[in-house]
Symmetry: C2
């Protein structure tokens, strides 16, 4: 985890530096790792030399203060890291490797140069860890909140969309789910305690995993690599950003199939279950409707079952049915069947 | 010009529709014009098939309420159009043709579905007029103002950066300058009048050109075509978004040359001059520091002078000198030399 924002430090007003010097300051620490990158920031646009034979995928995503994050408990460096990661995750969900990032930041006047620098430190760390080049962006003031707008670019020989799942295909998810939502609940509880009594120390010990899932999520770029090694091309793919239920319904609608999903097969970390118990919440609610796990949900043909069944990275959680059968969750223990509904997170 | 926003019309809350249905509603009217486009909106990312042998250029730009526009006098359809155009202009300024656009919109809850639709109507019109495919975006609520975040992509065989100007090169600008700033001054004057007395009719007659320059600017995508026809490859290039002075200083700094610029050669429209007189302002201030003209400023080798000198689209306004000579404006009539300074528009 990162250290907290240095609140006691210097505060240089952005107007003292000016927009162009600010951009220069923020971007000069970025070096290029991809041969496609001919020119990065500093001109009207970046220039890329395109690899022949691959397809390019492009995605854009907002993070807005008060909607997607609360500066009361999210350090700026984490925020920069996460803003990069959520865009890398979209690229990963097309079965592509993220290679380039553009990041726009709109912030109110109260944001000093040092705040921009912290955000960019997080972006730089994400770019370094994922081998991505920052090639552009825009910084401006906004009348109030902080908004980060990222655009990511990647390449792949085999893009995988949401519309290719077929009846009998297996539904597979990477990693474990629900942790990011539980981390958020803990952060919000501690923030309420802090607001009521600023002298109280936050009780975060023992919750490192779920807090990291919320504050410093990772994009599962390894999924593409592993699937390639196994010789598996998924039939459909999406990332779990809005909760598992919502993502399954997207695959269902766009592929024109139904899904049967088995609760007992859905992977959760023990810390997610423990946090749910501590907070009096249902872990499955966090999984289904919590969101922000950034795991990869995909379908594979049944003929690939043997290749994938022993891989620790993946859990087979269900299978595709005819569309008319709808989407069903089979509950643990009782075997009760309930219709799968998205009550997921929404930005509106 | 567009008609005004339909304030008396329906107001459907976005939450009634949901984010995904909203995106579907907004993007279903877009068709694809470029063979590169394999997949647009609706998945985790768009997919592009890249043309072999060309380079790709990518740029991103914000428009923020209260900073870049005032909803008191900017119709939403114009705003969508302009948000697309400013991104096309960045691509144009690399000597590239814009082909793809991603547009993120963050708006407060008070924004009904109909407001999004109007913005997208403007984006659709811009895409149609410029042969650009909308391939992605993000809609979310923001805690305060309206923010549009565009990312444009284009292609070119010969990207032109800001750093290639050489001593003796000629400095050339397309179209005329200062109009957008004068349009803004008129809009702000009428808005003040309206706020003081809503029954007053705005006095806009006779100012159609400068108002259009502000409200519905165009990207000079024709410049690339004309230069190709003439067999001219510019040595450096930038678009005039922040005022002529600021852009000249960018070319100067990045190319390591100075410039001598002749006030009498700088093109302005008669309506810009008339508006300046009516408002008691200096037209040259609008040209130098006003911004938002979205004309293209570029340098060419002196050997290309004959090819370009009779073209109505272009004005030769100066030439490059050794860096040590600095940047100088030679005033009309007197020939007085003054140092060129940017007091241009700033987002901070």
């Amino acid at each position: 985890m990162f250290t907290e924002a240095n609140d006691g430090g210097e505060r240089t007003p952005v107007e003292k530096l000016g927009e162009f010097k600010l951009i220069k300051l923020l971007t000069e620490k970025f070096s290029f790792r991809n041969t496609e990158t001919i020119l990065g920031t500093g001109d009207d646009a970046a220039i890329l030399e395109i690899p022949h034979g691959q397809k390019q995928v492009v995605s854009t995503d907002f993070l807005c203060e008060g909607i997607h994050f609360n500066l009361g408990y999210v350090p700026l460096k984490h925020l920069g890291y996460k803003a990069a990661i959520v865009n890398f995750s979209d690229i990963t969900a097309m079965n592509a490797r993220p290679t380039h990032l553009l990041m726009g930041i709109a912030a109110s006047d109260r944001f000093p140069v040092e705040a921009f620098t912290e955000i960019y430190d997080g972006i730089a760390l994400a770019c370094e860890q994922y081998g991505v080049d920052l090639i552009g962006g825009d910084t401006t003031s906004s009348k109030s909140g902080l908004i980060l707008s990222g655009t990511a670019i990647g390449y792949t020989h085999h893009p995988v969309c949401r519309d290719g799942a077929k009846e009998h295909d297996l539904l597979v998810v990477s990693g474990d789910l629900g942790g990011a939502y539980m981390g958020l609940q803990l952060l919000e509880r501690e923030h309420r305690v802090y607001l009521a009594n600023p002298a109280m120390q936050p009780e975060m010990e023992g919750w490192e995993y779920v807090l990291r899932r919320q504050l410093k999520p990772e994009a599962r770029t390894d999924v593409k690599t592993v699937l390639e090694e196994l010789g598996v091309i998924p039939t459909s793919m999406i990332d779990v950003s809005d909760g598992l239920a919502s993502e399954i319904l997207h695959l269902s609608e766009q592929s024109q199939v139904g899904f049967r999903v088995y609760e007992e097969k859905i992977p959760t970390d023990y810390e997610t279950d423990a946090a749910a118990e501590e907070l009096g919440l249902n872990a499955m609610t966090a999984v289904m409707n919590g969101g922000e796990d950034y795991e990869i949900l995909f379908t594979i043909s049944q003929v690939d079952f043997e290749k994938i069944k022993d891989r620790k990275e993946f859990s087979i959680i269900g299978h595709a049915t005819p569309k008319e059968a709808g989407n069903t969750l089979i509950l643990r223990g009782t075997g009760t069947e309930v219709p799968l509904r998205a009550q997921g997170w929404t930005a509106f």
